[in-house]
């Protein structure tokens, strides 16, 4: 059974001039121990999807439809108090900026032991021992001494290691990592991604890795969902999405990334920009920028259809679907 199921999720932001639909009918699943990448450009709705899953949507944003199930149990309609027990215990979260995830007034040891004791039935001494083990596991040198330091005494990369330790403290089944390496330098990025991958594998935790960096996705994830204008444009195994993208947006995105292997004088560019939420085109949201759009694309909105090896929300694959 899937660990996490998101079914037809809709997130809306009511405002004076009406309602903005920021996530429109998102469905996907994460299997136990799987690493799912969620990729897209700014405003595509990837962080919002993560926030909805961990129950941290900023008001006035609200879930206006659909369900989120963790091991078959609905978590999208839980009360604040109940959700707090799930967050941390069963779903851990890692955010972009490690400084905002840590309380500057407490030592990292206090923050770790507090998290452990809130969620697990252990005493103070045991919690501290576990906290030191966690810091060691995340590769922090001299963990016994560092545990009594404050967040500002750590460098950026070390802080993100502390945040990872904090997210793993209560042994959750799922980690939602929202741009965990974006604020870090490239040489540190690689360290943090490998650490996250190793620790989750060892503990059997699944990861939802939200990032705009296709390179990180390629090296880390099992499957990837590509988001565009509040919807999933394509989802499938990483290898297939990168090498045989079925959605023209995915193809355009891949070709626009300068990469180390090719010698191109010009990069492929996707003209225009992603539409604002109050001006999403009718039919397929990508149709005004799509080089392969045809009449149906401007009229009808495509659902995810089976393409070659992936699923793509694109009418080009309507015929493939019709075959038995």
């Amino acid at each position: 059974m899937s660990l996490l199921q998101v079914k037809n999720l809709v997130v809306e932001f009511p405002n004076r001039r009406g309602t903005l639909r920021a996530l429109d009918d998102i469905s996907f699943e994460i299997a136990p121990g799987e690493i799912l990448g969620v990729v897209g450009e700014s405003g595509a709705g990837k962080s919002l999807t993560g926030a909805a899953i961990i129950g941290l949507l900023e008001p006035p944003g609200r879930i206006a439809g659909g369900e989120i199930l963790l091991q078959g149990q609905r978590i999208d309609n839980l009360r604040h108090e109940q959700m707090r027990h799930i967050r941390g215990r069963r779903i851990g979260a890692i955010f972009q900026d490690p400084l905002t995830s840590l309380n500057p007034l407490y030592t990292v040891g206090r923050q770790l032991t507090e998290t452990i004791r809130t969620h697990l039935p252990v005493g103070e001494a045991e919690a501290r021992r576990r906290a030191i083990d966690l810091l060691k596991d995340t590769g922090i040198p001299a963990a016994e001494a560092r545990i009594d330091h404050y967040p500002h005494q750590f460098s950026g990369g070390m802080r993100q290691r502390v945040v990872i330790a904090l997210a793993l403290a209560a042994e959750p089944q799922l980690i939602v990592a929202d741009e965990p390496t974006t604020a870090l330098d490239v040489s540190i990025q690689a360290q943090i991604i490998q650490l996250l991958k190793r620790l989750c594998r060892e503990r059997g935790a699944a990861v939802m890795l939200i990032t705009h960096d296709m390179g990180v996705i390629a090296e880390t994830c099992d499957r990837v969902a590509v988001m565009y204008a509040g919807r999933i444009a394509e989802v499938g195994p990483v290898r297939d999405v990168i090498h045989q993208p079925a959605h023209p947006y995915t193809a355009g995105l891949m070709a626009s990334i300068p990469d180390m292997a090719s010698e191109r004088e010009r990069l492929n560019q996707i003209d225009g920009a992603m539409p604002r939420l109050n001006a999403i085109p009718a039919g397929c949201a990508y149709n005004p920028r799509c080089p392969r759009a045809f009449e149906r694309c401007t009229r009808e909105r495509p659902e995810l259809l089976r393409a070659e090896a992936t699923q793509a929300a694109c009418w080009l694959h309507a015929t493939v679907q019709a075959l038995p």
Binding site: E41, S42, S155, G156, G157, M158, D185, V186, S187, I188, Q189, A190, Q191, I193, Q194, H212, D213, M214, G215, V216, A218, E219, V238, R239, I242, H243, G252, L253, M254, S256, I257, P258, D259, M260, A261, R264, E265, R266, L267, N268, Q269, I270, D271, A273, M274
Partner: protein
């Protein structure tokens, strides 16, 4: 490098910032004076019509180099010649205006570098008015329209305000403004790192087209080696305020010499290497207030020996590229 005289020559550029605690704290708490050597002796040349890219991690001094080159900072030591003329002497004198017209800058954040209360027309015509290049409503307006067209925007856009544009469009407005004085040299400080990839491609393509059409010379600063590989002719790799390697693009990417360059190249996540396992280099960039002695990279370097921790390597020519590394110079690497 070649026989033609380079347009831009930086020789031993250095900038030190005084980041000491206030005087009273120094006296009462006996805190020593703290000096941050942001750039510590950087030399390079750029030929006209070419692109030199500077890469490095945060705090390596690449943005300080950019600001030194456009005269936003005065160097603590060393200097720069532009078209045979001592640029920093000129910046201080009345010739500075003339020179500033020929050197322009594009900043990283297109949200912070445009005045939100001005229309695009006013933003782009400001340098034209400031340098008295054109006068008369109609002539100015026509020129602003041309500049907007050259970066792929419409002349009608000049009546709008910056908030009406997306990030990529704003960066194009910044480029149009920088082009207004018909400069020869553009210093671009991370011009695409605030942009999404599909938009980054638009901006990089425009920059390449403009270079070809107008023979522009670029200093392109970036932390993204894949972008650098796409735009540059020569690449300088910086670490803690110094150049560790300076090479032409094909050599640098095909055969990186300095261990830090190798590490950076290895650290880039690659899209076409699905599931690639890398061996990330351990450690982080040291505190620039208290850099390691000898070669600044030696605590993280797998090839470091006693000499590396004692003696600072100079940038030396080896096989057509310039490298500051004892291991490479001794032939150990």
């Amino acid at each position: 490098m070649t026989a033609t005289a380079p347009l831009v020559v930086a020789h031993d550029l250095a900038k030190t910032f005084d980041v000491s605690a206030p005087w009273l704290n120094r006296v009462l708490e006996r805190k020593p004076r703290a000096l941050l050597r942001a750039v510590d002796g950087v030399s390079f040349e750029i030929e006209a019509g070419r692109t030199l890219a500077l890469v490095g991690e945060s705090g390596c001094g690449k943005s300080t180099v950019a600001r030194l080159l456009v005269g936003l900072y005065a160097p603590t030591r060393g200097g720069m010649t532009f078209d045979g003329q001592d640029a920093h002497a000129a910046f201080r004198s009345s010739e500075g205006r003339q020179l500033r017209k020929r050197i322009q800058m594009i900043f990283q954040d297109p949200y912070a570098s445009l005045n939100p209360r001005w229309t695009v027309e006013r933003i782009i015509e400001e340098p034209l008015r400031e340098h008295a290049l054109l006068s008369g409503r109609e002539a100015l307006r026509a020129r602003v329209g041309e500049l907007l067209q050259s970066v792929g925007l419409s002349p009608q856009d000049m009546a709008k305000y910056p908030h009406q544009f997306s990030g990529g469009q704003r960066q194009r407005i910044c480029i149009a403004r920088a082009l207004a004085t018909a400069p020869e040299f553009l210093v671009c400080d991370e011009p695409t790192s605030a942009l999404d990839v599909s938009v980054q491609a638009q901006v990089l393509n425009i920059m390449k087209d403009l270079q070809r059409e107008r023979g522009l010379t670029y200093l392109f600063i970036s932390h993204n080696l894949a972008v650098v590989r796409h735009v540059s002719d020569h690449v300088g790799v910086m670490y803690l305020g110094r150049l560790v390697e300076l090479a032409d693009k094909p050599s640098l990417f095909a055969r990186p010499r300095h261990p830090y360059t190798r590490m950076l190249l290895d650290a880039i996540p690659q899209m076409h290497a699905v599931g690639r396992a890398r061996t990330p280099v351990q450690g982080e960039v040291p505190n620039p207030l208290n850099p390691p002695g000898g070669c600044a990279f030696h605590p993280r370097c797998p090839h470091a020996n006693a000499r590396c921790s004692a003696e600072r390597p100079a940038l030396q020519s080896i096989g057509g590229v310039r490298v500051a590394c004892h291991a490479v110079q001794e032939g150990r690497l």
